[in-house]
């Protein structure tokens, strides 16, 4: 396999708060290959967006990347000069933000904002050509009457349209890496399917790598090659997509799969993972998930489990994995390691 | 002393702008200075205020002392080329007297009964009664002689154009900005040396001073007193000081308690330290005196002394008048009208406070100030008086006569009234002098006002500018000036 396009090692992104430093991303290791899609799932607030912003070098103050390496195509972004980062952003690494309304500038037409993204990296291309490309981009993300919508302001668009504008903008310069933070939440399934098709198509053509953050496990199943499951700033399980669905190891992953509503079956209540994320700066000792874990044991409090390899590409950060072996043993039967 | 040179342009900066070029509408000094460089009257005041022939060469007075016959200067032409003659004089005077003209200074010729052209160069004027100050009156800027043909030709535009007989003639005027006059090569007398004089406006005192220092102006007037010492020490400029006609006084309303009591008025007089005002506030510029009329005015009673500074006596007088602990009164002070007026007011306030008089200064803007004074209700005020004609008659009628418009203190003394009328008809100078002295003494005794000081006029020139003449009547004569 050729060297990974993006390798993240020990990334730590912290916020200064009154209670001291709080790590929104806390020691994350990831790799993304060219032409591949890495799906990231995880509980709301677990640090997915901060992870992506860290890659982009856009962590909002008072947050900052405190440790770790972000190696993109052989270059450490965490240590790169701001100007260098700028030339990469938009051109080689693009991002679709989670909140399309607030992420679009209300005083410019969407057309302008897309053209601007292209101009930033192709200053010499004549404007009419860029405009034509922008309209085409809008049309590709299924915005109807794209030529007219080109002149619309963000507030004149529906939520889903704004989201598609963001996608069109991110794709404008055919990046090598696309970070898409919940890009299709506001899209109906038909448009979502079309947009995902589009992404796959581009990926096929340009070997674009995608980091896809989403809650929709259906989308993950359809799009991702590999999946990282995050919990409280950590990657707790990482595996090829099939393994996540067919061989889920971490109790949190199990919880997610169990909570998923399914169209073909109907339940009175959906399963949930009880409890909530630890408060900032109050991460529990040992495994962060253990207070909420149905398989939790006293051993879990001893040590924060590192991601350990279960297979060639499958890692999990749980001392009890796989759970069936553990569950089969009497609850009192001590630790594994 | 270097030798006079001809040519060059002189820039003169004043604090205010020329308002009009129609002499009969002049009411301010700046306009007087500009228009006065182009126009002349029958008589003229010289540097020290003495009456000398102007466009009239000589004059005689009839035995009944009412008819004046003037021999006019021959060979004089107006700038527009028309000749100066008796007809022009009559025309000018009649125009001023015509109510339709609407001149604010019609009163200058109020005493005239009739005017007549005797021949081309003889003009006759009859007054209603004998009128002693007539020759002074005829030197005033409002009775400059106009060119009849020019006035008729210009019509409504006359206030923007000029055609006099003076040593300079109008070149251009941008109202509010500057007025340029050039030498009148056909002047009947000694021709001006300068090619041109620019009358410009720089309202801000300090800016005007700086303009002079930078050399962008050659002459400035109304130099702030505080600058005199500093500028006097510089080589590049020369300060020109000249006594003027202006008196700054403090008036008290004799019809309002407690100023209806002479002792209170005297107490105020003693309580004010006039030398300290002049030394401290006015940088030593100004002179002291007892008469309301400045010492430079003919007939001013120089023997009247200013009330000495004596706070003890002041307190005693107050106690006698029933105010052992003093009293409180309103004190109206103009602001920005006279040199350091507000500061002088505040200093007086402090001095009065020392004897127990609490003076509450009020200094409304001039319109309201004037309105209040005219109502005659202001108990105590500070003000200034000049002399439009250089003769006391005008001001005494206004200020000492019981019906006078500026009798803000409400003096009402039949003897004073009588003296005011008598001096006017006393054509004999000696007799008139005596009457005026008596008049001033009478008023002084009643002390409706305390004379604070007489203002000096202060101008400055670049040191390469010579022979700029400042007159006591505030005129500035550039006709002899030259630049080295």
């Amino acid at each position: 396999m050729s060297p990974a396009l993006l390798t993240i090692e020990g990334l730590r992104t912290v916020f200064r708060t009154d209670a001291g430093e709080f790590a929104a991303v806390d020691g994350v290791d990831l790799t993304v290959q060219r032409g591949q899609t890495l799906g990231i799932v995880g509980e709301s607030g677990c640090g997915k967006s901060m992870l992506s912003l860290s890659i982009m070098g856009l962590v909002p103050a008072p947050g900052r990347v405190a440790a770790g390496r972000i190696v993109f195509d052989g270059e450490d972004l965490a240590a790169a000069a701001p100007e260098r980062l700028r030339t990469l952003r938009g051109k080689r690494i693009a991002m679709v933000f989670q909140e399309p309304m607030t992420s679009l500038n209300p005083v410019y037409t969407i057309g302008f904002q897309i053209v601007e993204a292209m101009r930033a990296h192709e200053p010499d291309t004549p404007l009419p050509e860029l405009k034509a490309r922008a309209i085409a981009a809008l049309a590709r993300v299924r915005i109807t009457a794209a030529a007219q919508r080109f002149d619309d302001y963000p507030h004149q668009l529906s939520g889903g349209m704004r989201q598609r504008v963001m996608i069109a903008m991110a794709l404008a310069c055919s990046p090598d890496l696309l970070i898409a933070d919940e890009p299709t939440t506001a899209l109906d399934v038909t448009v979502q399917a079309q947009v995902l098709d589009l992404l796959r198509e581009i990926q096929r053509e340009t070997q674009m790598a995608i980091i896809l953050i989403t809650h929709d496990l259906g989308v993950v199943a359809g799009m991702a090659d590999e999946v990282a499951v995050m919990y409280a700033g950590r990657v707790v399980e990482r595996a090829p997509v099939a393994d996540i669905f067919n061989d889920p190891q971490h109790p949190y992953t199990l919880g997610l799969l169990g909570s998923m509503p399914r169209i073909e079956e109907e339940r009175e209540r959906l399963l949930v993972i009880e409890g909530s994320l630890p408060a900032p700066g109050q991460a529990p000792k040992g495994c962060r998930f253990h207070p909420r874990c149905v398989f939790g044991t006293p051993e879990c409090t001893l040590q924060d489990p590192p991601l350990r390899a279960l297979g060639p590409a499958h890692g999990v950060a749980c001392i009890h994995a796989p759970v069936e072996q553990f569950a089969a043993m009497p609850a009192s039967a001590g630790s594994f390691e | 002393q270097p030798k006079p040179r001809n040519g060059g342009t002189l820039v003169y900066a004043a604090g205010s702008a020329t308002q009009t070029l129609d002499p009969q509408f002049i009411t301010d000094v700046t306009t007087f200075r500009a228009v006065g460089s182009m126009y002349e009257a029958l008589t003229r005041q010289d540097e020290e205020g003495r009456i000398v022939p102007g466009l009239a060469l000589s004059w005689t007075l009839s035995p009944d002392k009412r008819t004046w016959t003037f021999k006019l200067r021959p060979g004089v032409t107006f700038h527009d080329g028309s000749p100066f003659d008796a007809q022009a004089v009559k025309f000018s005077y009649d125009r001023l007297l015509n109510p339709a003209t609407g001149s604010p200074r019609r009163s200058t010729l109020e005493m005239v009964e009739s005017t007549a052209v005797v021949d081309d160069l003889t003009f006759r004027l009859t007054t209603k009664e004998p009128f002693a100050p007539l020759l002074s009156q005829l030197s005033a800027y409002n009775v400059y002689i106009l060119s009849p043909s020019f006035v008729q030709k210009q019509g409504a535009n006359f206030s923007k154009a000029a055609s006099g007989t003076g040593p300079f003639k109008l070149q251009s005027w941008q109202p509010g900005e500057k007025l340029t006059v050039v030498r009148n090569d056909k002047y009947w007398g000694e021709k001006a040396r300068l090619d041109a004089v620019v009358f410009s406006v720089v309202p801000e005192d300090s800016a005007r001073t700086l303009l002079l220092l930078s050399g962008q102006a050659d002459v400035i007037s109304e130099l702030p007193y505080v600058m005199v010492k500093k500028l006097g020490a510089l080589d590049a400029v020369r300060v020109v000081r000249k006594p003027g006609y202006r008196t700054i006084y403090l008036g008290m309303n004799m019809n309002v308690a407690p100023f209806n009591d002479l002792r209170v008025r005297q107490a105020v007089g003693y309580a004010i330290n006039k030398p300290a005002l002049v030394q401290g506030v006015l940088s030593g510029i100004g002179s002291l005196g007892g008469s309301l009329e400045a010492a430079s005015i003919e007939g001013s009673a120089k023997e009247l002394q200013p009330y000495p500074y004596d706070p003890v006596k002041a307190k005693k007088l107050l106690a006698e008048a029933g105010f052992p602990n003093g009293f409180s009164t309103d004190f109206m002070v103009p602001t920005g009208r006279y040199n350091m007026d507000r500061q002088v007011g505040e200093a007086i306030q402090g001095q009065l406070a020392a004897v127990g008089i609490k003076a509450n200064i009020q200094s409304p803007e001039f319109g309201a100030y004037l309105a209040a004074l005219n109502k005659g209700k202001v108990p105590m005020f500070m003000s200034g008086k000049g002399s439009p004609t250089g003769d006391m008659d005008f001001t005494q009628t206004l200020m000492s006569h019981s019906a006078g418009k500026m009798n803000y203190w409400g003096i009402k003394d039949p003897e004073v009234d009588k003296l005011v009328l008598q001096q006017r008809t006393a054509v004999d100078p000696k007799e008139r002098h005596r009457l005026l002295a008596e008049l001033q003494a009478k008023v002084y005794q009643q002390e409706p006002h305390v004379t604070l000081y007489y203002e000096d006029q202060v101008s400055a020139t670049r040191s390469n500018v010579h022979d700029v003449k400042v007159y006591v009547n505030e005129f500035i004569d550039f006709s002899k000036a030259w630049k080295a």
Partner: protein, 277 residues
């Protein structure tokens, strides 16, 4: 983090507050700390430069400038702060209301504001003085009235933008009264810039008040007023610059303090700048 803590954290805010408080104190304690009588001059010692006796020198009547500045703090603080505060307190609600209501209300209010704006301040001041009589309070009133339209138009412009924000719609959906909406949601979101304007107006208004005292409006002589002291120094500026310098510096420091304070407030008011300053 408590607001106070945040406030302290914005490094400059506290010095600003201290500076402002110092002026207030100076005004209050003037009778105790002023070395001389601010009103009693010594005509033998006018315009003297700073010396051991008179730290800030004396003015054109020989009065001690330091003492006058200390006493003047009372007047000038009140003038500047009160007139700006009054104008903001009236103008800002008017502007917000006008923008928020829109339509006819907006038209009528704004046209009235146009009239006020076009009205010469001097005339306004003279009118007020001639009706109400000359006093400090009336001068403040006049300056405040003159400043109202400025705040009104400013607040209006800001409100026009803010009222289009989705959270304002969310407030309406909640059934919030317009009053509360304006006070709780629009005002805080325009407050930073309004405050910035207001602190600057304090300085400008002190100078405006001074120009009014030259029309006989305002603090009556010989009350020390910074602006008037400055203006009085005008003719003597070239020979006794200290007369202008010290009152000028006093105004400067006051406005400076207020601005730092406002900066600090902006940090507190703007949750996003938390922990950054």
């Amino acid at each position: 983090m408590s607001k106070w803590k945040q406030f302290k954290r914005s490094r400059l805010a506290l010095p600003g507050l201290v500076l402002f408080a110092a002026f207030v104190l100076a005004g209050l304690l003037a009778p105790l700390i002023a070395p001389h009588d601010p009103l009693q001059g010594d005509l033998a010692n006018v315009m003297s430069t700073p010396s051991a006796q008179h730290w800030f020198g004396t003015d054109e009547l020989g009065r001690d400038i330091l003492s006058r500045i200390l006493f003047g703090a009372r007047i000038s603080l009140v003038e500047g702060v009160l007139s700006a505060a009054l104008a903001a307190a009236i103008g800002v609600p008017i502007g917000m209301l006008s923008a928020y209501a829109g339509g006819k209300v907006d038209t009528v209010i704004m046209r009235l504001i146009d009239v006020l704006l076009a009205f010469p301040g001097v005339l306004l001041a003279i009118v007020i003085i001639s009706i109400l009589g000359p006093s400090l309070a009336n001068a403040i009133l006049a300056v405040a009235i003159y400043t109202i339209p400025i705040f009104a138009r400013f607040a209006r412009g800001q409100t026009l933008s803010v009222k289009e924000e989705p959270y304002i719609e969310a407030c309406r959906a909640m059934g919030m009264s317009n009053l509360r909406l304006l006070a709780r949601h629009v005002l805080p979101n325009i407050a930073a810039t309004v405050l910035a304007l207001a602190t600057l107006r304090v300085g400008i208004n002190i100078l405006t008040c001074a120009s009014l005292s030259f029309l006989g409006l305002g603090a009556q002589a010989p009350l020390p007023e910074w602006g008037a002291m400055l203006a009085n120094s005008r003719t003597a500026l070239l020979i006794a610059p200290h007369m202008a310098l010290f009152p000028g510096v006093a105004i400067l420091l006051l406005v400076f303090g207020l601005n730092l304070f406002q900066d600090g407030l902006q940090v507190v008011l703007d949750p996003k700048s938390r922990g950054r300053a």
